[in-house]
């Protein structure tokens, strides 16, 4: 079983991202579950969401404590939340940031870090506003590249089907992130 944890802020679309990723896996014939950690959510407050994927039916009905992947939609969360909590030693952290993985390593004491400038990609495709770009679809493209667990074409199709608006722009944002993500580590 592969377990993925999303960290974002209310309004950035972390919960939707967890669902779209589940949909993409599902379209490739995998078993999935996706769920939010429900606090009383407010715009801007830290939000956590989860996706599970397996080759067999998923019976686990509890939160994810030891994720294989952590996806950080907002780099400012790195000083607010311990995003590395419980992550598997050979796991991967994907951060939305302009910085390179080796720079991030100064802040995050972890081997496998990938970075992608999802914010600029989202602004380029006019997703959300300049001040509050919506990066959730772009970051999924980065996940496809880093994990190798799902095809970018499937992620783009899942986005086209699930995005409430600007389907093609969202799908292209994922493709841009797929092509521009920088993987540090082994």
């Amino acid at each position: 079983m592969i377990e993925i944890r999303f960290h974002g802020r209310g309004g950035q679309g972390s919960v939707i991202a967890s669902k779209i990723l589940a949909k993409a896996f599902f379209m490739e014939g995998k078993y999935v579950s996706a769920f939010p950690y429900y606090g009383v959510e407010r715009r801007g407050a830290p939000v956590t969401a989860f996706t599970r994927m397996d080759e067999k039916p998923i019976r686990a009905k509890y939160q994810i404590y030891e994720p294989n992947f952590v996806i950080v939609l907002d780099p400012s969360l790195l000083s607010a939340v311990n995003v590395l909590k419980g992550i598997k030693e050979d796991g991967y952290v994907i951060v939305n940031t302009m910085k390179k993985p080796e720079e991030m390593r100064k802040k995050l004491n972890f081997k496998n870090i990938a970075t992608v400038d999802a914010t600029s990609i989202a602004i380029k495709h006019r997703l959300g506003s300049q001040a509050a770009p919506i990066v959730n679809t772009a970051i999924l493209g980065a996940f496809a590249k880093v994990s190798g667990l799902v095809k970018i074409e499937t992620v783009m199709d899942a986005i086209r089907q699930a995005a409430p608006a600007k389907q093609e722009e969202n799908a292209q944002a994922a493709k841009d992130a797929y092509e521009s993500v920088i993987m540090g580590g082994d």
């Binding site: 669902k19 589940a22 949909k23 599902f26 078993y31 999935v32 579950s33 996706a34 769920f35 939010p36 429900y38 009383v40 998923i58 019976r59 686990a60 009905k61 509890y62 939160q63 404590y65």
Partner: protein, 395 residues
């Protein structure tokens, strides 16, 4: 068709496929997305039903009662305080023998406020005369609504039904769900054929005053008989559903690796799903444990529980609520039906209240405690609260 649906979307689909004519509902977290989904089905013309917006859950159930009395199928959904507010009219619905189907998303009762899962809300309605079915995944949520209409509407049953799902763990969790074809569902449950209804051509009154020598007691007795009879109908309908829709539901108790088990965990809802993974991992280490998940708490399948007890040396009953009586409800009823039938130890584990997460690690500790009791032949205590803050035994 396979779709990715949350538990609440699955409930909405279950209702849509069952073709109720009237939906009356009031929003409450974590139920709201059920009625929102249904509202959009109706607004988009995908569902032919009258949606009545009401000012409270009490009114929602009252509207369902009135509508069902005119001879149409109805549906509603609620949680926690909404269900508690319905209490008076829940008893009216069952006493009036109206086969209403309602989704209940199990949520804790305040104070302190908590929107997370806890089974106190439905346990507090165990005596309301409603059938109660508890589910472990979104497929079962959808399927159980369809089966519930078919069972409830039989003229020898005529009892309303709560289809119950854990808050967030199901209600807001997306899973792959097989949504059956409308035609197949239509053929399976058929047109609603009310046993009686309000009809201006043949005026009649329902629910009027009767004196102590009148048939009040007989009304309750007939309900008791119908609840017993429901056991037979549940078995038949579940078997027919499995056959028609290619599913594999056990009517009353889903058993997992219980044959030859030294100790069996007895649970309701999603805990039973996680526990299967724990059973597999402990079995691979040589621990002989199993899990049994009760689906129907009403009617309570006494014979099946007694048969379960014959397979093992110890039963650990997990309750996600507490009743301030002799243990929590599932425990109290399990012990009650086992009395005079077996002397194996039975212990109550109260856990997961207010949505506190039930992890494989804590279930493993409970299984180890159960195995110890099975070996000793006697429980160290009857009731154990598991996972309280600061209790190192379970942390």
């Amino acid at each position: 068709m396979k779709m990715i649906l949350t538990g609440n979307e699955s409930a909405a689909w279950g209702a849509r496929l069952s073709r109720p004519k009237v939906i009356a509902a009031y929003p409450i977290t974590p139920q709201t997305s059920i009625i929102e989904t249904i509202a959009s089905f109706i607004a988009n013309g995908e569902m032919d039903a009258r949606y009545i917006r009401v000012e409270s859950e009490h009114s929602a159930m009252a509207a369902c009662i009135a509508a069902q009395n005119t001879g149409v199928r109805t549906y509603t959904a609620t949680s926690a305080h909404g269900l508690a507010l319905m209490h008076e009219v829940l008893i009216w619905a069952s006493g009036a023998r109206l086969p209403i189907v309602m989704s209940v998303v199990n949520r804790a009762m305040a104070p302190p406020w908590s929107v997370w899962t806890d089974q106190l809300d439905t346990m507090a309605e165990r005596d309301s005369g409603w059938i109660q079915v508890y589910t472990q995944n979104n497929q079962e949520v959808l399927d159980s609504i369809i089966m519930s209409y078919k069972i409830a509407e039989k003229h020898n049953i005529l009892l309303p039904t709560m289809v119950i799902e854990d808050a967030f763990i199901l209600s807001h969790t997306s899973e792959g769900v097989d949504v059956p074809e409308q035609k197949k569902v239509d053929d399976f449950i058929g047109e609603y054929n009310p046993a009686f209804k309000l009809d201006p051509e043949e005026p009649a009154g329902f629910g009027s005053l009767i004196m102590p020598e009148g048939p009040y007691m007989e009304f309750r007795y007939k309900m008791a008989l119908a609840m017993e009879e429901a056991k037979k109908e549940i078995k038949k309908v579940v078997e027919e559903f499995n056959e028609t829709f290619n599913r594999n539901y056990s009517p009353f108790i889903e058993e997992y690796r219980t044959e030859d088990a030294d100790a069996i965990m007895f649970v309701l809802g999603t805990i039973g799903s996680t526990a299967k993974d724990v059973v597999d991992s402990m079995r691979s280490e040589g621990y002989k444990v199993g899990v049994a998940r009760l689906r129907y708490f009403r009617p309570f399948p006494a014979e099946e529980v007694r048969r379960l007890a014959k397979k093992t040396n110890m039963i650990g009953v997990v309750d996600r609520s507490y009743s301030f009586g002799p243990g929590a409800d599932l425990f109290a009823e399990t012990k009650s039906v086992l009395y005079n039938h077996t002397d194996i130890p039975v212990k109550n584990y109260v856990m997961g209240l207010g949505g506190r997460d039930i992890t494989p690690a804590i279930l493993r500790k409970v299984f180890l405690d159960m195995l110890h009791i099975a070996k000793e032949g006697v429980a160290d205590k009857e009731i154990e609260w598991v996972g309280l803050q600061g209790d190192e035994r379970w942390s």
